[in-house]
Symmetry: C2
């Protein structure tokens, strides 16, 4: 079995081909599309923002993410701040990936309406 | 009022500064972050996939988008196909931006579980 000859090392890509596993030409080892890379960026940001071993964000971590990573989009979305405040205890409440994705959607919708 | 001296021309960016309007140093004219550019890519893809003047995707257009733009992520998500089929008439049913964003979230969740 030949060495996987893909150059691009992307998280989704690695899972798709696995390191060292032979990549079938044009098979699973194609380049990710721009939209897939964009989705991957939003996924990875969730993991970067999560502190420790847990699998969720706290309201404080989400707030930090909005300030650091959504300096423009975050402004389009008044409700995003309110949503974060309504989540409960800033250090205890849990924001799972699905809710995080929904909030990114709110930022997207907010920015589209402008 | 000085000419806006921003080099990066991004859709959200233009709306933020507007062409010709003075950009306040470090104000609204900063560079978009990677996460904002990623969200913008997913937003723009919705508009590219919409045919004609309408503001929604048909199931057929969404199916085409999945085949062309989610060759990898689309595989993680059996239900995405079913969701598209359950939407009704392939040429008539309407997929608004919010539902499109939710489906992208399904692709993201499907790929995270792998």
């Amino acid at each position: 079995m030949g060495q996987c000859n893909c150059r691009k090392k992307r998280k989704v890509h690695e899972r798709r081909c696995g390191t060292g596993r032979a990549g079938t030409p044009g098979g699973d080892c194609q380049e990710l599309t721009d939209v897939e890379r964009a989705i991957e960026t939003v996924i990875n940001q969730f993991h970067y923002a999560v502190k420790g071993q847990k699998e969720y964000l706290t309201p404080n971590e989400m707030q930090e993410l909005v300030v650091q990573k959504l300096p423009h989009l975050g402004k389009c979305v008044g409700p995003l701040e309110e949503k974060i405040e309504c989540m409960g205890d800033p250090d205890e409440a849990k924001l799972e990936f699905g809710e995080y994705w929904d909030m990114m959607g709110d930022a997207a919708k907010g920015c589209r309406r402008k």
